[in-house]
């Protein structure tokens, strides 16, 4: 169930230029699914709206940077009550979040949205295609997909050789890297990496910038395989009431029947063929 909650920061560190990794202690962690997101409220009252931030991991195994320990001497940055977000500083709101330290409170709304359909990847060869700050929400998905590790192929596109989260993906998937500036992996984008390594899959899960998602949709259509893509848009309420964050859909949407689905509640994950992007 969606709720608004005051949660607590367990740790935070900058893992690449302007990209932050925050662990949060929250009751939402138990039910949150890969592909869902949180609305995080800035404390500065001049900024009203919750910032939609994707969930990177629930119950992270890695301990992170916090110092707190439980009775048994284990660090408290992992576990069932912990959510992890990895986000880019994109404006004043996320700038504020990046200054939070261990023990600080933060206002959360969530878990929001539908998440990736895990069953679509069961026993299949999958691509997890992430571009830039679209990479983090695929990590929990890589963990939870019920298919052989050898069938999980993470194709990650970066700007440069600042390869955040790459090593963590390697625990669950084969990782193929593309970097725009050619400083790591294949020079170019994720589609270049797929071509270069001659990769193949039965189903795609993707999150990233719109040009990448369009290329993914085209690729999936040509090969007649399903693709599930996670979209973003400026949001206000985050719960489906304001109709601010819509995407054009091929068929009538389930709310207004006008081919404009709400990304926050009908998505953010959509079958690629169902949306006009």
């Amino acid at each position: 169930m969606k709720q608004k909650e005051t949660a607590r920061v367990l740790s935070q560190r900058e893992i690449a230029a302007d990209i932050y990794d925050m662990r949060i202690e929250t009751s939402m962690a138990a039910e949150a699914k890969p592909g869902q997101f949180l609305g995080i409220y800035p404390k500065d009252k001049s900024m009203l709206l919750p910032r939609p931030i994707s969930i990177c991991e629930t119950g992270p195994e890695e301990n992170g940077a916090c110092s707190e320990t439980d009775g048994a001497g284990r660090k408290r940055c992992g576990g069932n009550n912990v959510l992890r977000i990895v986000y880019r500083v994109a404006g004043e709101g996320t700038r504020e979040f990046s200054g939070y330290r261990e023990g600080d409170s933060l206002g959360l709304l969530g878990p929001l949205g539908n998440g990736f359909p895990l069953e679509a990847g069961r026993g299949k060869r999958v691509f997890l295609i992430g571009g830039g700050i679209g990479i983090p929400p695929l990590l929990e998905l890589a963990k939870r997909l019920e298919t052989a590790a050898a069938c999980k192929q993470a194709v990650l596109g970066y700007r440069n050789d600042d390869l955040f989260l790459k090593e963590e993906f390697e625990r669950y998937a084969s990782v193929y890297v593309a970097a725009e500036d050619g400083s790591a992996g294949v020079k170019g984008n994720v589609m270049d990496a797929i071509g270069h390594y001659k990769l193949e899959a039965d189903v795609i899960f993707a999150c990233g910038p719109m040009p990448m998602l369009r290329a993914v949709k085209k690729y999936a259509r040509e090969r007649r395989i399903p693709a599930y893509i996670s979209l973003e848009e400026h949001m206000a309420c985050g719960v489906g009431a304001c109709l601010g964050c819509v995407v054009k859909t091929k068929d009538k949407d389930p709310h207004s029947y006008v081919n404009n689905a709400r990304i926050c509640t009908d998505g953010p994950v959509f079958p690629a063929e169902s949306v006009e992007i």
Binding site: L48, P50, Y257, V258, T265
Partner: protein
């Protein structure tokens, strides 16, 4: 302590309602809010046929507020009657349906369809949306046009009619008087204030529609002023709104002359805002030994 207020013969258990367009038809927020605790739910605007709304981006944040240009996306009256009204009927709250249209005939069609629906307590007529090109605000920025559409709607309406006024006019009291003169049963104000935001890095408008309606705490002083001015100019009840976030804000609108209040953009900031506003009003009444909430209406001096 008595928190009941009566508007055009309709008694609300408390003066707190939802501002149209910020609460859907209550379904989305019913996960957070017990709708039975609200004086009324005012629905998102509904037209005679489905409206697709505007291109995205439709929303942007501004200092202490937000801009929106949703463009009144709605499924039309058929779906609304089949889905939204039965949902709201489950709750012990008053249903106020907000109606939008491009022509007088569009409005009348919806008014007549709703006339058959006894669960609908009142109609709120949106003649003030700044984000659609035809209809809507064209009726709300000209006193003669507002007079004629109000009179026409009153002729067909079975329920009391609330005219929702735009702040984007030279003198809002002229509009209020025109609506009252044509037989409106109540007024609600203010709708959003037309604004603009430009992304200087991309040199693009922040909203696809270029302009958007501003709402949120930053507009509250403008709204309080307009409620006060209108209260001095007309005798029909006023539903006040514009940036209400807490009980104190609601009391301020009531002291300025509002008989009831609506919570709008602050639902997005705090999904529990409506309940907290209602509770805040009760706390104020306790603190100042106010027996009837109606004693607050227009009590500023």
């Amino acid at each position: 302590m008595n928190t009941e207020v009566t508007i055009a013969g309709v008694t609300l258990k408390n003066p707190v309602m939802t501002a149209s367009g910020t609460f859907g038809s209550g379904m989305e927020y019913s996960e957070f809010v017990d709708l039975n605790q609200l004086g009324a739910v005012v629905t998102k605007g509904v037209a005679n046929v489905p409206w697709p709304g505007n291109p995205t981006p439709r929303v942007a944040e501004v200092y202490g507020g937000m801009l929106n240009a949703i463009g009144l996306q709605n499924p039309g009256i058929d779906v609304f009657l089949e889905r939204d009204i039965p949902f709201l009927k489950q709750y012990d709250t008053k249903i106020i349906v907000n109606i939008c249209g491009k022509t007088v005939e569009d409005y009348i069609e919806v008014v007549e369809r709703l006339g058959e629906e006894s669960a609908v307590a009142m109609l709120e007529i949106n003649v003030s949306c700044p984000n659609v090109k035809e209809g809507a605000i064209a009726f709300g920025q000209n006193a003669d046009a507002l007079f004629s559409i109000t009179r026409e709607i009153k002729r067909h309406a079975k329920q009391p009619v609330i005219m929702k006024l735009s702040p984007n006019v030279t003198d809002i009291t002229e509009m209020a008087k025109a609506a009252e003169g044509a037989g409106a049963d109540a007024l609600s104000l203010i709708n959003t204030i037309t604004g603009m935001k430009i992304d200087i890095h991309r040199r693009k408008f922040a909203i696809a529609n270029k302009t958007g309606g501003m709402s949120g705490p930053a507009i509250k002083p403008v709204a309080v002023r307009m409620v006060y001015q209108v209260a001095q100019a007309v005798k029909i009840p006023i539903i006040g709104m514009g940036g209400i976030a807490c009980g104190e804000d609601a009391v301020e609108f009531m002291l300025a002359g509002a008989s009831a209040v609506s919570v709008g953009a602050m639902n997005f900031v705090n999904p529990y805002a409506t309940l907290e506003v209602a509770e805040g009003i009760r706390r104020y009444m306790e603190q100042y030994h106010v027996e009837n909430v109606t004693d607050l209406i227009g009590a500023v001096s």
